[in-house]
């Protein structure tokens, strides 16, 4: 997506009449940026601020507040490993370690080829399938350490 296309999308969203106030369009607008770009940068923030007539800093505040928005460059696939209570008790931390070991990075980092980002995550509401992992929008439940390479390969891991 180019920045021009992004602006058009935000305009479209704004004119959709879905929400009662301008500010309500802010999160959906940031989602468009999150899904279509490797990171939400200041150019996109400016476009959103202009189109929705919200102060620049307020848009950046929201973008940086939510952990699911990336204001730093992310990989093509964002692997979120839950380490919150249920998942932790069921071995979530080992799963996280295994992802990191195989990819050679620490939580929060991205592989040098720009393919994967691994994040240690809070509860994603998938406790019934603890330990839980998501890759972009795909979910994996009751993950075992030996499942980790399989999951990675599914997304083009060559290791």
């Amino acid at each position: 997506m180019t920045l021009e296309e992004f602006r058009l999308e935000v305009k479209k969203l704004k004119n959709s009449g879905k929400y009662p106030s301008r500010k309500s369009y802010l999160l959906p607008a940031l989602w468009i940026a999150e899904k279509n770009f490797p990171q939400i940068n200041s150019e996109m923030i400016k476009i959103i601020a202009e189109e929705l007539e919200i102060p620049l800093v307020e848009v950046e505040e929201v973008a940086r507040f939510y952990a699911m928005f990336h204001t730093e460059r992310k990989g093509n696939f964002v692997i979120r490993v839950c380490t919150n209570l249920s998942c932790m008790l069921n071995g979530g931390e080992e799963i996280l370690k295994e992802f990191c070991r195989l990819l050679g990075i620490s939580p929060g980092e991205t592989t040098p080829d720009g393919m994967f980002t691994v994040e240690s995550y809070e509860c994603m509401g998938l406790c019934d399938g603890a330990p839980a992992v998501t890759v972009n929008e795909e979910r994996f439940s009751k993950v075992k350490v030996e499942d980790v390479p399989k999951i990675l390969k599914k997304f083009g891991w060559k290791g």
Binding site: I45, P55, L56, V57, E58, V59, E60, E61, R64
Partner: protein, 727 residues
């Protein structure tokens, strides 16, 4: 309002509905420590240090947000409160850097003071101290986030009180820190009012011009008046060994009408004192050259040259009353021109209805229900007045109505903003007049009718100011406003003086347009011709004397140049918008205008009483536009007003641009246009601005320079017409 009693620490205190426990305690001399609370800000309840015990309530409550209720019994000093308070402070201190020895705030830091008085003796914390290591440097402001206690005072100040919303909190919880958008103050739209620095309780928000320059406890503090515009803000100038180190407003403590608010000129423009363009010695023209001479010699020559001669006096209007009265005694007070000319026209316009050359003080707004502003760009010319007007709405709940021809920052808080073409302003005001005559009158415009309705049976404070003062219609506008105020009965009118002593100049001198001066010696005082009298040629004269603190372009035209002092070097008085204001000398100057003038012979004054014609009818616009013509307003940026950014290195860092704002319909996609005036033309870059109304344009400049000469002519620099050359 019915008051009631509450008991704080056994003392019976009077409280009013809506007041918080903290406010009642403060008024009764009971001290409750605070961090996030600030008198000028909306209470937030973020820091929890103001905890108090309320009888009958199970938990401690924050005094800054707790409303006082009848018969409430509050204790601020029980063991329980002390322990909780110390706990809060302990948590803050655990993650605060130990930088007091090098921190600029040390000595006036609220964390030091509160921590010392109410804090714990030691800490139980074993975790490593949080280090964010995020320092944000702007041109004049720095944020050292390791010192920040996240009280959000700066955010409330900037976003709510100033209406700028430059600062915000990025990330959250443990990692939260303060920053402008993209870490960049200029990109984030900062106006450099300095208010955020002023209210920061710790050394997180810093004045970069002061960083590591001195310590608060050893500087000498001089309360004086800023003379860089007609707002006349009270400010504290801090000096050490006779050298200015910084200026602070002290919001909430300052008892001036500006309550401590300053603008970029007042806060950072102090370094004009040390400008490298300061004049060091008197100069005398010898042949083609200017030679340095002594003051004695300069005075001797001056005496000789002015003896028996009629003087053309050119006055800039930030001089003090003392200076003005001496100047008038030595050079006369009838053959005079000044940049206060349009201000005096406004006063004349009002006087033609009221019979008095006097306007109400600014505090009349406090006693009114509705504030009715007729003016554009007050936020640029008198930034602090615009802030005070904004605060009247958001703090005092006044209604603000604004009439003008250009968009304004004030519109964001206005009950109604009526923006019409310059030639329609007077007609618009007449609808309001009709509304006072006939209750059933309708202008045919819903917006005007609803604004008119909001005035009915209300106390109204009219304010005239900004660039509107420089419109050719100013006298007529003022007369119309005065007529309206007169009809309404319950109304006052205040004219915002553009310069610090516009009022004083108008009172002491009979001002004329420069073409009408008929003397043979020109005397220029504190002025820059291009800035104060754009488009005017200096009258032919035998001799020209320039009194100025700086090397100005006028020096080339002078036969004799005498240095004088700047604002913070003066002792004296100016007539301010609220009252007569005191100037106290913070720095001792080498040359003093009053002293120099005192050595010249006085002349017999012959000032006749000025006639006043009472008209009792509204004014008529003298503007008339033909189709396709555009009205221009020459707007000197906030930073450039009074040439501040030209002489101040600090302010130059944040100076604005020169650009032409045009409505897209008028811009027609052009990036650069050439303006054609009667005597010249100017190529300039265009900014499309759809908040303008078509047919109006704003020519923003940082400095009025010679190339504008063919376009504008003193005294009317607003709503003049010129053509845009068709390429």
């Amino acid at each position: 309002m019915e008051s009631f009693k509450i008991i704080i620490d056994g003392k019976e205190c009077e409280a009013y509905p809506g007041e918080t426990v903290l406010e009642v305690a403060e008024r009764n001399g009971i001290v409750i420590p605070v961090f996030c609370y600030h008198k000028e800000l909306r209470p937030e309840g973020a820091c929890r240090v103001c905890l108090v015990e309320v009888e009958g309530a199970p938990r401690l409550a924050t005094a800054c947000t707790l409303r006082a209720m009848p018969d409430m019994v509050v204790k601020t000093n029980t063991e329980r409160v002390k322990k909780a308070r110390a706990g809060v402070i302990e948590l803050i201190l655990n993650n605060h850097t130990l930088e007091c020895p090098i921190c600029d705030k040390a000595g006036e830091c609220e964390l030091q003071m509160v921590g010392f008085r109410y804090g714990p003796k030691k800490s139980r914390y074993r975790e490593p101290r949080r280090e964010k290591d995020i320092v944000i440097q702007g041109p004049l402001i720095e944020i050292d986030n390791d010192r920040c206690i996240l009280c959000r005072r700066c955010i409330r100040m900037c976003g709510e009180n100033m209406g700028n919303r430059v600062l915000g909190i990025f990330n959250r919880g443990y990692k939260a820190y303060i920053s402008p958008f993209n870490g960049d103050f200029l990109e984030g739209g900062c106006e450099h009012c300095g208010s955020c620095i002023d209210v920061c309780p710790v050394g997180s928000l810093l004045d970069r011009a002061f960083k590591y320059k001195d310590r608060p406890w050893r500087m000498e503090k001089t309360w004086t008046t800023c003379t860089l515009c007609g707002s006349g803000c009270k400010m504290e100038v801090d000096t050490y060994h006779g050298k200015v180190k910084r200026v602070v407003g002290r919001i909430g403590i300052n008892n001036g009408h500006n309550r401590g608010y300053l603008c970029v000129r007042g806060k950072w423009g102090w370094d004009i004192v040390y400008s490298d363009k300061r004049l060091k010695k008197p100069l005398l023209k010898k042949g083609e050259e200017l030679k340095e001479i002594s003051l004695e010699e300069a005075l001797r020559i001056l005496k000789e040259k002015i003896e028996g001669k009629e003087i053309n006096l050119f006055l800039e209007s930030s001089l003090t009353n003392e200076e003005l009265s001496k100047l008038s005694a030595v050079f006369g007070n009838t053959n005079v021109t000044s940049d206060a000319l349009t201000f005096s026209l406004a006063v004349e316009g009002i006087a033609s209805i009221t019979g008095e050359r006097r306007t109400a003080s600014f505090s009349s707004t406090e006693k009114s229900d509705v504030v009715f502003v007729i003016g554009d760009f007050i936020e640029e010319v008198n930034p602090v007045i615009a802030t005070l007007l904004r605060l009247l709405v958001i703090q005092k709940g006044k209604r603000l109505i604004r009439v003008g021809s250009y968009p304004s920052k004030l519109d964001a808080v206005a009950f109604s903003s009526l923006i019409v073409s310059p030639e329609e302003v007077i007609d618009l005001l007449k609808h309001f007049i009709m509304g006072t005559i006939d209750l059933y009158y309708s202008s045919g415009d819903r917006k005007i009718d609803s604004a008119a309705k909001a005035l009915r049976n209300k106390k109204v404070a009219f304010i005239i100011g900004g660039t509107t003062l420089f419109s050719p219609d100013i006298k007529e506008i003022s007369q119309t406003v005065a007529y309206l105020a007169d009809r309404m009965g319950n109304a006052t009118i205040t004219v915002i003086p553009p310069k610090a002593n516009s009022i004083g100049v108008t009172k002491l001198f009979d001002l004329k347009p420069p073409e009408k001066l008929k003397g043979s010696v020109n005397v220029l005082v504190n002025t820059e011709l291009e800035r104060d009298f754009p488009g005017i040629e200096l009258p032919k004269a035998e001799f020209t004397v320039v009194f100025t603190p700086f090397y100005t372009h006028d020096i080339a035209k002078a036969d004799l140049v005498i240095p004088i002092e700047t604002g913070v070097e003066k002792e004296g008085k100016v007539e301010g918008i609220e009252r007569t204001l005191d100037l106290k000398r913070a720095v001792v100057p080498k040359y003093q205008l009053t002293e120099i003038i005192s050595q010249l012979p006085y002349r017999e004054g012959s000032r006749e009483k000025r006639e006043l014609k009472i008209k009792k009818k509204p004014g008529e616009s003298i503007l008339s536009g033909e189709k396709g013509e555009i009205y221009f307003t020459l707007l000197v940026n906030r930073t450039g007003w009074n040439s501040v950014s030209y002489y101040s290195g600090n302010v130059a860092k944040v100076a604005g641009r020169r650009e032409l704002h045009l409505h897209p319909e008028d811009a027609k996609g052009r990036k650069i246009v050439t303006l054609k005036g009667e005597h010249g033309e100017l190529p300039i870059s265009v900014v499309e601005n759809d908040s303008l109304i078509p047919g109006t344009a704003v020519l923003r400049v940082e400095r009025v320079t010679r190339d504008l000469k063919g376009l504008v002519k003193f005294p009317f620099t607003s709503n003049f017409k010129c053509r845009i050359a068709e390429e």
